[in-house]
Amino acid sequence: MSEGTERHPRYSAIVLLEDQDSDLIPLVDTLHRVFSSRPAGYEIIIVANGVGGFLRRALASVAMCNGALKAYEFPSKVSQSVCLKAGFEESSGEIIIVCGSHRQITESSLMRLLDSLDEQTDIVNSWRTKRNDSTFNQLQSRAFNALVRKIARCQVHDLSSAVKVYRRSVLEQTDFYGNMHRFLPIIAEGKGFRTKEVECEHYRWTGKTGPCPPYEYIERVADLLTLYFLIGFKNKPLRFFNVLGTFFLLLGFGCLSYVFLDKMLLGHPVGGHPLLLLSLFSMVLGVQVSSVGLLGEIIAFTHGRHKRQYTIEKIL
């Protein structure tokens, strides 16, 4: 057993490097310090996502730390999910720590985060209770997290914090793509993994402050909608589309009856009635939305069957 732990480090830290972040080396040092204080073995994996030669240069200046450091790069930008998966493929640790390229939480918080992964927990999220950035950023982040809580019906307070601890099985059994890595803890929770949040101290904010360009908000909305759809309806898409379709159909039908009653009881002509148009549009839309749903159901039936819809915790 002890030999096994020698060969396979217990901890794998995956550092996702998205831009030329000068905080990378201090972060790696911090990780080294945190892990060296523990008896179990560890490794640090840096995955650079299209940052040119930055990572090579940065690593050249650091003394190589007894083989515990691995570094990989993508020559051109790929999605962050791909980066995370790439890092995960290279890792062998039983516990995986995923973080961004700068020090988001303090060293002691990181310790606490690692300690709180007990037998009953599969995922530990960090929750930066005292944040060190602008009020606007905080408000924005709170609103986003509140929306996520509402949509996913889960208790998460700080999804935007990049520091998370996973058990290996979580990353093995949860599939994510595109921008869904952001919601990985929630998707995993939907699969039955147990999540825990630990309050952390925010180290400092190094990113940009102030409002993002408008398209980023649209992207967030898209991500949230995707999350909502995938959590609730990926196995039964027709329900989702039918709710929407029925709404439009009923709206149309209601308006049409109103127009009809107006004609019958009050004698207003049907021809120029403004609601006539609304009802017709609405009914057509309802039928179309429902038929798209039917198409979705066919796709889910014909292609989605090979996707496992359950996760097994233990087999005796």
Binding site: L230, K234, F281
Partner: protein
Amino acid sequence: MGVHLSIVIPLYNEEDSVRELVSSIVECAKDFPFSHEILLVDDGSTDGTWRVIEELSTSVPTLRAIKFRRNYGQTSAMVAGFDHARGEIIVTMDGDLQNDPRDIPRLLEKLEEGYDIVSGWRVHRRDHFSRVLPSRIANAIISLTTGVHLHDYGCSLKAYRAECIRSIKAYGEMHRFFPALASMTGARVAEIPVRHHERKHGTSKYGFSRIFKVLSDIWAINLIIKFSSNPLRGFLFCAVPFVLLSLFFWLLCALALFYSWTQGKAQVFMFSALLSGAAAVHLVVLGFLAELVVHVSDLSHTHLSKLTKRCINGETR
């Protein structure tokens, strides 16, 4: 010992060229320090191409050939070639003798420098103006829109790492987009100038009408590159103008009612608002459908990442 290099050549009604083509390749291959194979793909030729290939196969031991039941197009022929090639490196070229096999060693050298795809660039094209112009336009558009900057996408003479090209699922007439598609997965693409000869036999299989097909392919490929992993975003971006338009018309409609403009105006505004609102709803709904399709698909990004991930420190598993 495994084969190092596979030369894939799609052929369609090239009975006059095949013999010369194969002999010129064999001539070049004498200098190769590694093993190679020539893989001819007869794309349902209606002339004697296959007969010539059968004759040749008796005298050329490195020759292999595939025959399609009917004509499927150059991309399908290439994909069939990729599927059946045994080499670690695959070179594709035209069957009409316009590419020169003497360029192959240079392509391979470039590949050795650490690229995944090396594309030929026909600097001095020996083609009729009516062929060159549409191709130029297409090249300019592909370069502008895909983010992969080459001078000549249409050149068939290209060298690929086999693992890299097999991961790309091509369809339609997509062969000119292989570099763009591959770079989407992080592959490194380079270009070197190659020779180009005048057509000796047969007729060109391309016409001016192809520009429209190519344009629609460009459009499709850009959408795929941008939105294949998160389609709902794309649809949402398309829906936003319609939402704004709808709101604008609802506002006008309200104003029309409030200030008692003519009833016709109010009705026109309402009609426009409803129409654009319906379009927006429709786009969003389609976005969900697209998301579902991506979700259930086997599009494995992990698989792609293995090819393009480069190790800086430590070993790759």
